[in-house]
């Protein structure tokens, strides 16, 4: 059985991107400004992370207008939901693995 850390996806596991996916999962759709304020990021930094997630097919980005004001909405894709679920379950497995005594042959080797 592989170590749970091997199941963590680098695209999803990064803290900010995991935060974006978590918020987008909870809300049906979320606006750029809400993400920026909630995650306490600059617009440029958030844009970079969103680009990574969009290229990986984990979120969809839709630009529109509310009156004269431009607004950007982010939605989680089915692949994004699957990736988030997988990440959360791997993290839980990792915690369980440490909390429960493991047989000697399965114990992770010290690096």
């Amino acid at each position: 059985m592989s170590h749970p850390a091997n199941g963590l996806d680098d695209v999803v596991h990064q803290r900010v991107r995991l935060g974006i996916l978590t918020i987008a999962h909870e809300a049906r759709q979320v606006e750029f400004g809400f993400l920026r304020a909630t995650l306490d990021l600059t617009a440029g930094n958030l844009s970079q992370h969103l680009t990574v997630l969009e290229k990986a097919g984990l979120v969809e980005i839709e630009k529109g207008y509310a009156g004269k004001r431009g607004r950007t909405w982010i939605r989680l894709t089915a692949a994004g939901k699957k990736a988030l679920d997988e990440e959360i379950s791997q993290l839980k497995r990792l915690i369980r693995r440490v909390e429960q005594p493991t047989p000697p042959e399965e114990a992770p080797r010290a690096l």
């Binding site: 680098d10 935060g19 049906r28 993290l91």
Partner: protein, 239 residues
């Protein structure tokens, strides 16, 4: 395989804790329970004239029920109850109210920048409103008398229960234990008001027989309005 460091259990715990915090913040931003409660409270109280419209004092006649309308005897006075004015009111008012609730949540999503899954609540509210509205308006024609409360106050008040059923869906949508607790409390009040009435327990005895339903409506509507005010204050405190 990458050369990234393996996260420790502590780090994993911190990450999960952060995702939980983010989830809670989103849920707080999504909540707007006060609006449906206040609106539905107003809808309940505003139903009073329509109940009055369907109640007339008549000469006691054992075959009156067969000619259309339930006959109830209250304090020695015979009242003929026709269900359709209140039933039609409930159908129209609940459909419009839930449409307004949907519009409120859409507006709120746009202003706060975070969407919510309110459609199941709106759909269940309209469905329950239609079913209970039709059942209360045309009880006799649908042969539902044996399933419907028939006390001196309770005739036609079952739509009050429809509101509580949708509140359970709202509790699920908003993932709120407080809304669930309120839904349980309101269901008890609605069953009391629509099932056995409160006039028989001494409340509203001074009212004319044709207004006997009023304490039930005021009780149910009052609970919704007070609940709405309570949730509004709680939501304002969190912002």
């Amino acid at each position: 395989m990458t050369d990234r460091p393996v996260p420790s259990a502590d780090t994993a715990q911190q990450v999960l804790s952060t995702t939980d915090q983010l989830t809670r913040r989103v849920r707080q931003a999504q909540r707007g329970t006060w609006f449906p409660l206040v609106l539905l409270g107003v809808v309940v109280v505003a139903a009073a004239p329509f109940y009055r419209l369907g109640r007339h004092t008549v000469t006691c006649d054992p075959v009156l029920g067969a000619r259309g309308g339930v006959q109830i005897i209250n304090g020695g006075v015979c009242v003929q109850v026709v269900g359709w004015p209140a039933g039609v009111y409930w159908i129209l008012a609940l459909v419009l109210a839930y449409a307004a609730i949907a519009a409120f949540y859409v507006f709120r999503a746009r202003s706060r920048g975070v969407g919510s899954r309110v459609l199941p609540y709106v759909a269940s509210g309209i469905a329950a409103g239609l079913v209970f509205g039709v059942a209360s308006a045309w009880t006799q024609q649908l042969r539902l008398e044996s399933y419907s409360p028939a006390g001196p106050v309770a005739v036609g008040l079952v739509p009050l229960v429809a509101i509580s059923l949708a509140l359970f869906v709202l509790a699920r949508v908003e993932r709120s234990w407080a809304v669930l607790a309120f839904a349980v409390g309101y269901l008890a009040v609605a069953l009391l008001a629509s099932g056995i009435g409160i006039r028989g327990q001494g409340v509203g005895k001074s009212l004319p027989a044709t207004w006997g339903f009023l304490p039930s409506l005021l009780l149910a509507g009052g609970v919704l309005l007070l609940g709405g005010v309570g949730f509004a204050l709680a939501e304002r405190r969190r912002v």
